[in-house]
Symmetry: C2
Subunit: 262 residues, 2 copies
């Protein structure tokens, strides 16, 4: 099977013009089918403040009320997404900006109201993905650029970008050998949180178990690792956790970040 | 050749929730390939006012400066476009929201600075259109929904929605029998501007010439008619000028609005 790179970037890349430019330049040079998923960034908060839209929280969890939904639809689906697409086009990469609503790409279920009403938030599974059309676009050398938005029942919904990346990876693993790359602020998963040079280069199910029993992982990295192994168990060939600046190195066999395999 | 409907709506439909809902319901029922182009609407001005972005004018012409460009990228490319797409998906229409940057669909030239610097405005011709990818999407039963945005040299550009509709129509007329439908606030082109019932049902080059020599057309409709005949002369089979509420009737042989033919 052909290789497919599914790459997720977050606010730390989006908020810094230079980092973003460097990342997009690297992204454009990858000579294989690829998909980018971008998160939000501080620009949404900044514009929200100007519009008098305050982030609301219940029990420490962010709530997407109607004004916040309009804000993220504008900023994620419009401003950030289209600026990335225009820049990639200049770099010779035939990018196409998408939300889950476009082409029915990712149909969500609005999160049910139990203890907390999260508002306009969409929950998704690999079955939510219209992988037929997505596969078709990739075959035409179109590079999908996803904003962290899905939809259900006629409305846009806010959805976690890490989850979108993982769900796309699982769904497309029937067509490709997928390497799912999560870019974050560190070089990789660290053995010693105080030592930036202690990156674990390779993790498989058994070494993961061993490290877990030793209790070496910091709380922040645990959900990422759980997501990564869930993806691997659902057919994704490899997951890579690393720094955006190392993107090119992290598309190779010998990686800078943490490569996770079955 | 198969029929293709290219339909443009403006602010008068977008600004009224009921009109928009009715229009989208009608649009979804059209059983043929179709493309929608939407303009802006007062929501952009409203959000711009809240963000302190003032529309600037030089010699009565609107200028797209950098803050205005961000505003229209957010509102046209994000908010309006994605809300339309989500609503159409609910109506069973596999809509895909696009700007000219997405999939390199419409590559513009930034308007040269002569007497007036219009700012971030893109000029386009039928050669600007990536009709191969557009045709391919239509073949997959995907319904493209265009925001009035194009791009050049790594940046998004503001482009007139009427012009985008006309350029798409000309470019796709090699694959389809195109009917280009301009929805505006009147039933059609009026013989007598004071009489709403004086719609001219059919116009061809010779009757147009005759009416022109009689000086019956109001100033407002003249540029629309010039555009329409320019499109016809460049291969578009039919242009229809009418009211959004008459959409379904205006897709038939016997139309409510003004049908323009060679």
């Amino acid at each position: 099977m052909n290789k497919l790179y599914i790459i997720k970037i977050g606010g730390n890349v989006l908020d810094d013009e230079k980092s973003l430019k460097r990342f997009l330049t690297d992204f454009a040079t990858i000579q294989a089918p690829k998909i980018l998923i971008h998160g939000g960034g501080t620009i949404a908060t900044k514009i929200g403040d100007q519009l008098g839209i305050k982030s609301s929280y219940v029990k420490g969890r962010r709530i997407t009320d109607a004004p916040t939904l309009d804000l993220v639809t504008m900023v994620y689906g419009g401003l950030i997404n289209k600026q990335i697409v225009a820049q990639l086009q200049k770099l010779g990469c035939n990018a196409m900006g998408l939300t889950g609503a476009d082409g029915n790409m990712i149909k969500a279920v609005k999160r049910p109201v139990n203890e907390i009403d999260y508002g306009f938030v969409g929950d998704i599974t690999p079955d939510s993905v219209n992988s037929t059309l997505l596969y078709f676009l990739l075959k035409q050398n179109v590079i999908p650029i996803f904003a962290p938005l899905t939809y259900a029942d006629g409305v846009i919904l806010n959805t976690n970008a890490d989850t979108i990346a993982s769900v796309l990876a699982v769904s497309l693993s029937k067509h490709f050998d997928v390497r799912l790359i999560y870019c974050f602020e560190k070089k990789g998963v660290l053995k010693d949180i105080t030592d930036e040079n202690s990156v674990i280069r390779l993790l498989d199910a058994s070494s993961y178990k061993q490290f877990l029993s030793q209790g070496i992982f910091a709380d922040g990295i645990l959900p990422k690792l759980e997501n990564a192994f869930a993806a691997i168990q659902s057919g994704v060939k490899e997951v890579l956790i690393g720094e955006a600046g190392d993107l090119i190195k992290n598309t190779r066999e010998e990686t800078e970040g943490t490569l996770i395999k079955q």
